[in-house]
Amino acid sequence: MLGVGTSLSTRRTAGGIKPPTYKEHSLRSRIMPMPIPPQLKIPVGATKSGTITLCIAAGDHVHKYQKLAQLQMSAQGRSCIPVHAPTSGIVSAIEEAYVADHSQQKQVCIVLTTDGLDTSLPLEPAVDYRQLASEELVTAIRRAGIVGMGGAGFPAADKIDSAAHQAVDLLIINAAECEPYISADEALIRERAEGVVTGAAILQRASSARRCVIAIESSKPDAIQALEQAIEAQTNIAENCELILVASKYPAGSEKQLIQSVAGIEIPSGQLPARHGVLVHNAGTSYAAFQAVAQGKPCISRITTLSGQALKTPKNFEALIGCSVEFLFDICGIDKSLRAKTVLGGSLMGLQLPSDNAAVSKTTNCLIAAGSAELAPPAETQACIRCGFCADACPVRLLPQQLLAFSKTENNSQLLEHGLMDCIECGACDYVCPSHIPLVSIYQDSKAAIEAGRTNHERSEAWQQRFQYHQYRIKKEKDQAPTRTKAAPANKPAAESGESGESVSSNGDGQEFFSKEKASREIAAAVARVKARRAESKSVASEQDKPK
């Protein structure tokens, strides 16, 4: 067995910060299976993001692993994400509710009242992934409804598919979990490293990548040891799977930063890593792929970290998709008087949850019940003193001071010139700023304004084109009009006789389908209604005027 730190050298990148971590609290206990909650709200997706097709209706009884619905994303034709029942029960409603993810909008949820029996459908037969072709593996991953477990939530099958078409060379399994509170991936690797490693081999086969690298932070000796053992245990994997340590700093686990430290490639602005032969998947996604292919299980649960000072026993749960945040906090022994706020995600990039009834989704990696002293709102903002700490901390090597100045003057062209769109919103600049300037939220506003300006411009160009075509069409019709009026008198008598013939068209049952008389009656009624309405509003208006 390899000793840690002897054969493995640590890779580092520019910038970054080293905030104190709180992972040890949630790592004290093992990953806990959760009791079946009385109700699950299984998120399917927002109505704006695509077409939702339900396979069940309210009142149906469903079994564990049964497919409930699927979301067909509107952007791409192929991406469809199925959703499966995490346990057995009765579908009581289909409604819109808040979900614990970064979209911050209501999503369509299937409300499942559980029966506690947990009766499951027979699993699909487990297969040896080495016998399957790349396309079959991608189909299996798609059917299991796996999305990026790191937080992005992009359909994993689509990512693999596009990578396979672009002939990627390197697959990186991202086990660098740099947010101070999150320990879900670390716990997963400590206890189920074999699954993660096999999942990596499955993803490698599916994407036809030549090499596979598992990247983990050097500060996690237990997880590194578990991974080393798992890789050595499987000789067929050990040949082309490598473990690489990255420096333990924030944000080491950000996709582009990780690629830079592992492969030494800097992905240019606005391009996807697949174009440069690199594919990155989260360790959680890798484990889900293992479950889908080697065990035949769809994605019905995920590892979620529960942490924060308001909890008596912070720990990692294998949370069923759709259970409420409150239920998870309750079984961790929450002291509600201590809790100041609930944060989703880490302390640096996380956001405050609007409601504790939000349902756990496939991307909910961490929930923090923060005490009043924890994650306190930043102190009062003061003027920028041009210390330059932010420029040192920025992992993308931007100039946060300049961006701040341009944001304040809304100088969009200069913001673009200075690479605002490459900002990954990691919050490192916020963290180091001695004046407590909320830099990231300022950049987010600027980004939103630039995006809105762009879409507005595209929209007005489309309108202009349509208007020009409209004018052209009107002109063409006018030019053709004289010939038409000349031709009309000849046709008229025939048309009239035709009209009188079909004035009352009815079928054998005497039921009127459509007739001109009926239509004109309806139109007259509608016009009369409007006249009455207008007269009424006029009289009301005049009455109101009279007393004055």
């Binding site: 299991a144 507005n456 007005s460 208007f467």
Partner: protein, 195 residues
């Protein structure tokens, strides 16, 4: 012989020089005119790019491009209600004019909204179809009409001609009652469906 030759030579060279000079002058004038014209044209294009392209005609011109042309010839740039204050600011910057307030005689600024037809009340008169400047309304005579949401500029022009007042201006198309959000399909043949 020689003096005559010299005379003709001088004559020829003089007239040649004159022709050359005149043609050069004409070329200069032509180039100058071309430059002026393109400058004018590019100004119109620039102004047109700033205008919101709703084609609503509230400025008193039939469309945004004619108004852009009018502005380039000196008309006031504060007559575009859909563009609001932002458009006035941008135009003032572009034309180096003082920033004016929106001319209220041409209408008030309203937030962007789309036209939605209450379809069961529509009598199929086609008047709104004729009014729409971007052909965003579908339908036939005595048949129900509907608005293509993605193409609607929110210009309001279809609201006035409707004889039964069945067109609403809504902020989002989804606000309309009966907007389909979810497809129910009990026996849908889907990939990954389990028994």
């Amino acid at each position: 012989m020689l003096p005559l030759n010299t005379f003709w030579l001088v004559q020829l060279s003089l007239s040649g020089a004159l022709i050359l000079a005149t043609s050069l002058l004409l070329l200069k004038i032509y180039k100058y005119l071309c430059y002026q014209l393109t400058a004018q044209k590019s100004l119109v294009t620039q102004i047109n790019r700033v205008l919101p392209q709703t084609q609503c005609g509230q400025c008193g011109h039939p469309g945004c491009l004619p108004y852009a042309r009018a502005i380039s010839e000196g008309e006031a740039s504060n007559r575009c209600p859909p563009g609001g204050h932002e458009t006035i600011l941008e135009l003032a910057e572009l034309l180096n004019d003082p920033v004016l307030n929106l001319d209220p005689s041409h209408g008030q600024f309203k937030e962007f909204s789309v036209a939605v037809i209450r379809e069961d009340e529509c009598i199929g008169c086609t008047k709104c179809i004729q009014a729409c400047p971007v052909d965003a309304i579908l339908g036939g005579p005595k048949l129900m009409h509907t608005v293509i949401e993605a193409e609607c500029t929110g210009c309001d022009l279809c609201v006035e001609p409707c004889p039964v007042d069945c067109i609403d201006m809504l902020k989002h198309y989804e606000d309309a009652p009966g907007h389909p959000a979810v497809i129910f399909s009990k026996n849908h043949d889907m990939q990954g469906a389990r028994p």
